[in-house]
Structure formats: structure tokens, C-alpha cells
């Protein structure tokens, strides 16, 4: 009799119990990267004074480039953020599934998200993996998947792979999107936190280079590596370091525009006002006043900031 009553109470409560109050859901969501955590943070340069040696174009282009990178990250994580607003469809101890639900932006497609984790003997999460997949009615194709080592995205390492190839197959890709997977890796577990984007195909996301990497330190200084073209079609490869105030130095590799396709490199430093303080340009690529293909050294290397 007692067991019958207990069963009735449980059934009554079960029938009435509903909601998404879940500590495990929080744990799963905490393993997903957030936009703010993956943003490249480069000091903005707003006012530009008259400069004796000229403007530091490398540095002045860094902020727009980082904004483009951040916009690309936001685009990727917008898909991730979809599941933050909805409760999992099914819950198991180490698995969560959302959907499938209709993709309102792409009629005829359905979206399904699966996420799983591994835990050590004490129950601490060790790794997560997740797949955002879409289907036209047949098999689900991954449009985004990710891995994460750790328990909390804010201080762990992870990867995101954007499957442009599958997006093209599903018909959801934009014409400007690459046609091969793009890899985004991040490591927020230490100092510096590092972010890296690797486009394994041609141009995409508004960038002319296949990869971009960034390392930011807690004191505000950092370094980045990327490439950009100038108005003449010359391609520059930049490896730059900057202080929290915006001063910095860079090694710039270049390949001139066809038909010459001549390669070389130069060094330059700039102050917090983004004015060049030192230039060592053996071919006067950036300083035509020095003469054509003549070694050009302006300013003092002592003006260059030092980095740990």
C-alpha cells in the first residue's frame, strides 16, 4: 500500500513537473565559446596627427582587420548561440540534443545539435564535442562542429570548424564563402590567450590571407600575424607586436604586384600616436622619398618598444 501511494505521488508530480532548471545544462553551455571571449582585442587608433616619418599603415590597418575577424567570429558563434535560447530536446548524463527543428532562414532544412562530453572519475568534465548539422530530409550534414578541452570555455582550449563545403551542398552558403572547411582555434587557458583562423581555401570572410593569428596578454599588449594588400596590389605579410598604449613594431614581408613579383621585407616601429618612429626599408617600398629600390633607414631603432 505504501509503495502504491508513493508511486501515485511520484506519477502525479512527474505529470506536473516541467521546466529547464538544470545545472548540467549550465555545464554544457559553459563549454561553448562566447563571442566576447573569442574577440580579437586591438587598441583602436582614432585621431591621427601629422607624422614626421609618416603614418604607421600596418598599425592603422590592424583595427579594421581585427574588426573583420571579430565579425567573422560573430557569424560563426551566432549559430552556436542558437541553442542558448532553447532547452535541450533530450538529456542524458553526458549528452544533450537540441532539435531537429525547422531552419526558418532556409525553408526545407532542419537543424539538429548534439553535444557530448567526457568526465574523469571525479566527475569533472575533460572534453566536449558538438555538431551543428542540417538536413534536407536525408542525412544530417555538419555545418559546424567543435571540440573543447576543459570544463569552461572561458579558460580552455577548443576548435571550431565551419564546413563551407557542406553549406554549399545544403545551399545555405553565400557566394563569397570559401568552398572548403575553415578552422578556428582558440586557447584561453593561459596568458596570452591565442586565437587562430585558418582558411584552407581561397579568399573568404573579406580577408585576402589564409590564416590569421592573434595573441593577447592580460596587461594589454599582444601580437598578431596576418597579410593584407595595399592599393597597388602589393601583398604584405605582417608580424606585429603592440603595447597596451598602441605603440609597436612589425616585420613586414612583401611581394610586389605582378609582373615583377619581387619579394622582400622591412621593419618599422611606431609610437602610441601611430606615427612611424623608425623605418628600415631596404627597397624603399614604404618610403618612396628615399628613392626607388634604395636602402632607406629613417629614425632610430632605439625608439622601438621592447616586449617581454
Amino acid at each position: 500500500m505504501r509503495s502504491v501511494c508513493r508511486t501515485c505521488v511520484i506519477l502525479l508530480s512527474l505529470a506536473a513537473a516541467c521546466g529547464n532548471l538544470s545545472n548540467d545544462d549550465v555545464a554544457f553551455l559553459e563549454a561553448l565559446p562566447s563571442k566576447d571571449a573569442l574577440h580579437v582585442q586591438v587598441p583602436a587608433q582614432t585621431a591621427q596627427p601629422q607624422c614626421l616619418l609618416g603614418e604607421a599603415q600596418v598599425w592603422l590597418s590592424a583595427k579594421p582587420t581585427s574588426d573583420n575577424i571579430n565579425a567573422g567570429v560573430d557569424g560563426i558563434l551566432a549559430l552556436v548561440d542558437v541553442i542558448r535560447g532553447i532547452a535541450p530536446t533530450t538529456r542524458q548524463a553526458d549528452t544533450r540534443t537540441w532539435g531537429p527543428w525547422p531552419d526558418h532562414d532556409h525553408p526545407g532544412l532542419t537543424i539538429r545539435v548534439t553535444m557530448s562530453r567526457t568526465r574523469d572519475a571525479s566527475g569533472v568534465p575533460q572534453s566536449y564535442s558538438y555538431v551543428f548539422a542540417e538536413s534536407k530530409g536525408g542525412d544530417f550534414l555538419a555545418v559546424l562542429d567543435g571540440t573543447f578541452e576543459g570544463a569552461q570555455a572561458a579558460n580552455g582550449r577548443g576548435t571550431l570548424t565551419l564546413h563551407f563545403d557542406n553549406a554549399h551542398t545544403l545551399g545555405t552558403a553565400k557566394p563569397t564563402d570559401p568552398d572548403a572547411p575553415a578552422l578556428f582555434a582558440y586557447d584561453l587557458s593561459g596568458n596570452p590567450r591565442t586565437l587562430e583562423m585558418n582558411l584552407t581555401a581561397q579568399a573568404g570572410l573579406g580577408l585576402q590571407q589564409f590564416d590569421y593569428s592573434f595573441a593577447g596578454y592580460t596587461d594589454g599588449h599582444g601580437l598578431f600575424h596576418f597579410a593584407f594588400p595595399d592599393a597597388k596590389g602589393n601583398l604584405f605579410t605582417v608580424t606585429a607586436s603592440f603595447t597596451a598604449l598602441g605603440a609597436g613594431k612589425a616585420e613586414v614581408g612583401f611581394t610586389t604586384a605582378p609582373p615583377f613579383s619581387f619579394s622582400g621585407s622591412l621593419s618599422e616601429c611606431w609610437d602610441a600616436a601611430a606615427c612611424l618612429s623608425y623605418v628600415d626599408d631596404p627597397y624603399a617600398i614604404t618610403q618612396p622619398a628615399c628613392g626607388v629600390f634604395k636602402p632607406c633607414v629613417l629614425g632610430s631603432p632605439a625608439s622601438c618598444p621592447s616586449f617581454p
Binding site: A17, G19, L21, E30, R91, A93, A151
Partner: protein, 527 residues
């Protein structure tokens, strides 16, 4: 024994000169448990407390000279009786006249009073009274056995209180009166309507003043018996167990009248006006019958009540007259013209007058027993609530209520490997309760009951935009206990505890328990 003979006895005793007021002693015993073969009585102990209160308030018995035993064993009764006998003997040595009253309400079977798991033979009690060193010894035995709505007392086949035999064996020099609540072949009965046994209820009503046939402000033993006899027989005539006839042994050779209560010892009380007639019922704050008044036109009738708030009702053929009175240190007149007329359906029982509504405000909190559940899911919360309750709506001292409480707070969610996450939560609960009130005294009431409630808990995570708000809704059955203290006419303070069950089914299926504690203030409407 007929009503006519009882009245004749009353008249006979009333004709004799009154004796000097003796030094009075009282032993009052109530025992609801009759041991093996019996069912617990509902009102035996309440009956004993009523008689004890009357004797010590207007019966001339000083509290030091009175003993109230409930749930006592036979040995304790013997010891108390021996102690009072010794005190009586000492008083007599000082030249005082003494009177000893022994009252018992409880089970009797096979000629024995049932006292917990022990027995006390009626013959032994009779002998103890006969031998007690008091000028007047009065034994009042309301022995009983439980029934359903009208509960039976005693056993039909058990010997009755044989007053004749006792009279034959009675040889002492002092007067002895023995009164039993029913004849040898009858059952004594309890009633839920009056929340007591018929006999004791009418005995009490009589002692409070309604038995004062002479109108001299004193209720004598003969008056009380005659009144209790007539009202008991009349009220039980139509019960399932049949009419109940009290019996007596009266042997007060040479003695004068025995006054049991003097109404003047209570300054406060009710006066029923001479112009009105009919049957009135007086209910206390818990809506239990305190006394009845069967009044004829032409003479006023006084009830010596303790200070308090009472409800006076008079049932008519097509309606019921109801009025509330507050008794303090003065007499309050009751007149039909001052009573409110209500439909009969508002008075389904003697002890009820429709729902008594009250509003309760509470402040308290909840805490889950399971530490894991307290971690973020159901953290301890402070709750403020309101409750609307109705008493006397269901009978049997049952009450029901609807409640709503809102609370919340902040907490920290700790997950393995994850930095602590602050959360802000809100809790909303509400439910329906059913409970029973147990009057502990005039101002204290204990309550026990059950409740079915809903619980909603929502939380968000300030500073964590990546985490969505969460919520959970469920039903939670539980038990509750309350202790309330009435400190004003309308106001009571109470403490309440609840023990609840909750079934959680999101992360995993889990049975959880939690308790709630609250204090509150209740306002009763319409008193």
C-alpha cells in the same frame, strides 16, 4: 430513574437548609485510551478539563486542592486520591467541613475503569470514596466506549454503577453521592456536534448556570443532576445507541444541600433576558460548545463563563440566530433582538456556523535537505506569503486554506571545473491545505494537516549573458503543523512548519524533500 423523580430529588434537597461552605477538594480524571479491546475516545480528556476548569473557577475548589489527571494510570489515581484524602483529613482536624469530588471520564469495561493499560475496579473506587475522610464525597463517573458519530461509552453487557449495592454496603458516617452517566444496560455516548460526551456536556452546562432552577445563583448537586439527567435523556433519545439514562446513589443522611457552583464567583458571564425563550448554544473561539441554555420566558438565566469571545446561537424552525459576545469582567446580556438571523444551512451542526474566514500573512523560508539540490537548483529562499483559510466549513474541527508565497534571493552555482556562477532566483509557491485544529487552551491552538502545492522556481545568471534563464514548475505534496496564539479578538500569531516532497526530473529523476518554516500574523474576520 425518571425525569420526574430527578426533579423530586432536586426539590427535596432544595428544601433542606444550606450547609456552611466546606473546604473542597477535587480529583478530575480523563483518559481517552481504554487499552486493549477499546477505541480511543475523542473527548474524554476535554470533558475532564471542562469539569476541572468549572470546579476551580466557580466550584469553590482552590487550585492547590484540585488534581487533574489525563492519561494517568490507576496507581496515579490512587495516589492522588490518597493525597487529597490526607489533606481533607487534615482540614477536618482543623475543624473544617470538607467536600471531595471525584470525576472520571473514560472507558469502563467489566466493572473496571480503564486507565491507560491499567484498571481500577468500580468497587474499589466506591470503597475509596466511602472511606475517604471527607464530610461529603461525590463520585461522578462518565465512563465510555467510542462509537462513530455518536460514540458509545462503556459496554452494554458490563455491570452498571450499582448505586443500590453501594448504598447497602455504605456504612461510614459521611454522606456519599455517586452518579453514573448511564444505566447498567446502556451505553454512554459522545457527540461530535457538541465535542464531548452528552452527560458531561449537560453537567457542565448545568454547573455554569443553566441548572440553577431556583434562580438563587447557586447550582446544587441535585439541580445539576436533575438538569443533566433531563438533557441527556432528551438529547440521546434519537441517537443510534438509544436513550441514555444517568443513575445515582444519594446518601447524604442529615446533610443539607450541596452547592457545587456559585455563579457569583465569576464576575463575568452571560445573562439571557427574561423576555426570550428557547434553546441557546454557546460556542467558544474554536467553535466548540461550552454550554447550552434551555430557557423559559419570564425569568432571566445566567451563565458564569470565563473571559473570552463566544458565539451564541439559537436555532429556530426556519433560521438560526447568531451573535458574538465578548465576556470580560461584567455580565453581558443576550437578547434575541441583538442576534443576527441566518439561514439554517449556515448552521449544519450545533458547533458550526458556516465558514470562519481569516487572512494570514507569513514570513519564512525553505531549505532542501539534499546538499546537491541546494547547489543552484533549489537554494534556500526567503518567502513572504499570504493565506486565506476557512474554519468550521467542513466540521470535525477541520479547516482548509489557500496560500501563495513569493520569495527569492541570490546563490552561487558550483560546477566541477567551472568558476562559481552567481545566480539570482525567484520562487513562487501556492497550495491548498486541509488541517485539523486542536485547542490546547483558550488562546493556544495546535494544528496538523496536509497540503498540495505548486512550486515555480526561476533563475538567471547576472553577468553571464551566455547562460539563459531557467525555470521549473511542479506539484509538491506535504504535511504541515502550526501552533497559534490568539493575542487579540481578531489577531493571532503563529509559527508553522511544513515538510514537503518534490520530484525533480530534468537532469535526472530524483525525489527531494524540503522543509519550510514561517511565522505569521492572522486576522480572523467576523469575530
Amino acid at each position: 430513574m425518571t425525569r420526574g423523580s430527578a426533579l423530586a430529588l432536586a426539590a427535596l434537597v432544595a428544601a433542606t437548609p444550606a450547609r456552611a461552605d466546606p473546604h473542597r477538594f477535587a480529583l478530575v480524571v480523563g483518559d481517552a485510551q481504554g487499552g486493549e479491546g477499546t477505541r480511543p475516545l475523542r473527548y474524554a480528556e476535554r470533558d475532564a478539563k471542562r469539569i476541572y476548569a468549572i470546579l476551580t473557577r466557580i466550584g469553590g475548589v482552590q487550585p492547590d486542592d484540585a488534581r487533574l489527571l489525563t492519561g494517568a494510570e490507576a496507581g496515579e489515581v490512587r495516589a492522588a486520591l490518597a493525597e487529597l484524602s490526607a489533606r481533607s483529613a487534615a482540614a477536618r482536624q482543623r475543624g473544617e467541613e470538607t467536600l471531595l469530588v471525584v470525576y472520571y471520564s473514560g472507558h469502563a469495561k467489566d466493572g473496571e475503569l480503564r486507565l491507560a493499560d491499567t484498571r481500577l475496579a468500580l468497587s474499589e473506587l466506591r470503597a475509596l470514596l466511602q472511606e475517604a475522610p471527607a464530610d461529603v464525597r461525590i463520585g461522578l463517573v462518565d465512563s465510555c466506549q467510542s462509537g462513530a458519530i455518536t460514540r458509545a461509552k462503556g459496554v452494554r453487557t458490563a455491570p452498571a454503577f450499582d448505586v443500590k449495592q453501594a448504598r447497602e454496603r455504605e456504612a461510614g458516617p459521611h454522606g456519599l453521592v455517586l452518579i453514573a452517566s448511564s444505566a447498567a444496560d446502556e451505553e454512554s455516548q459522545e457527540s461530535d456536534e457538541i465535542a464531548g460526551s452528552f452527560f458531561t456536556h449537560y453537567l457542565a452546562s448545568g454547573l455554569l448556570g443553566d441548572a440553577d432552577a431556583s434562580g438563587d445563583g447557586k447550582v446544587t448537586l441535585a439541580e445539576a443532576y436533575a438538569y443533566a439527567y433531563a438533557r441527556t435523556v432528551g438529547s440521546t433519545a434519537d441517537t443510534r445507541a438509544g436513550a441514555q439514562h444517568p443513575v445515582y446513589l444519594y446518601d447524604l443522611g442529615g446533610a443539607g444541600d450541596v452547592v457545587l457552583t456559585q455563579l457569583s464567583q465569576s464576575r463575568g458571564g452571560l445573562i439571557f433576558g427574561a423576555a426570550d425563550e428557547g434553546q441557546y448554544v454557546v460556542l467558544d473561539r474554536t467553535r466548540r460548545a461550552v454550554a447550552e441554555v434551555a430557557k423559559e420566558r419570564g425569568a432571566s438565566r445566567r451563565l458564569a463563563l470565563a473571559p473570552g469571545v463566544y458565539l451564541v446561537k439559537k436555532r429556530l424552525d426556519d433560521a438560526v440566530l447568531v451573535g458574538e459576545v465578548e465576556v470580560g469582567g461584567e455580565l453581558v446580556e443576550v437578547a434575541d433582538a441583538r442576534l443576527s438571523r441566518r439561514p439554517l444551512e449556515d448552521d449544519p451542526q450545533k458547533g458550526a456556523s458556516g465558514p470562519r474566514w481569516s487572512m494570514l500573512g507569513t514570513l519564512g523560508g525553505q531549505r532542501f535537505f539534499d546538499a546537491g539540490a541546494r547547489n543552484g537548483l533549489f537554494p534556500p529562499a526567503t518567502l513572504a506569503g499570504a493565506e486565506l483559510s476557512a474554519r468550521d466549513d467542513l466540521g470535525h474541527q477541520l479547516a482548509w486554506g489557500l496560500d501563495l508565497a513569493l520569495g527569492g534571493g541570490t546563490a552561487t552555482l558550483t560546477l566541477p571545473g567551472v568558476s562559481p556562477i552567481g545566480e539570482r532566483f525567484t520562487e513562487l509557491g501556492g497550495g491548498a491545505s486541509l488541517w485539523r485544529d486542536f485547542g490546547l487552551s483558550e488562546s493556544w491552538t495546535a494544528s496538523l494537516g496536509a497540503r498540495v502545492a505548486f512550486l515555480y522556481l526561476g533563475r538567471n545568471f547576472p553577468g553571464h549573458s551566455e547562460l539563459p534563464a531557467q525555470g521549473f514548475f511542479t506539484l509538491t505534496p506535504g504535511l504541515e503543523a502550526m501552533l497559534s496564539w490568539q493575542f487579540g479578538r481578531h489577531w493571532s500569531a503563529l509559527g508553522r512548519g511544513r515538510l514537503n516532497y518534490l520530484f525533480y526530473n530534468v537532469d535526472k529523476n530524483e525525489s527531494l524533500g524540503y522543509f519550510e518554516l514561517a511565522v505569521g500574523v492572522e486576522y480572523a474576520f467576523g469575530l
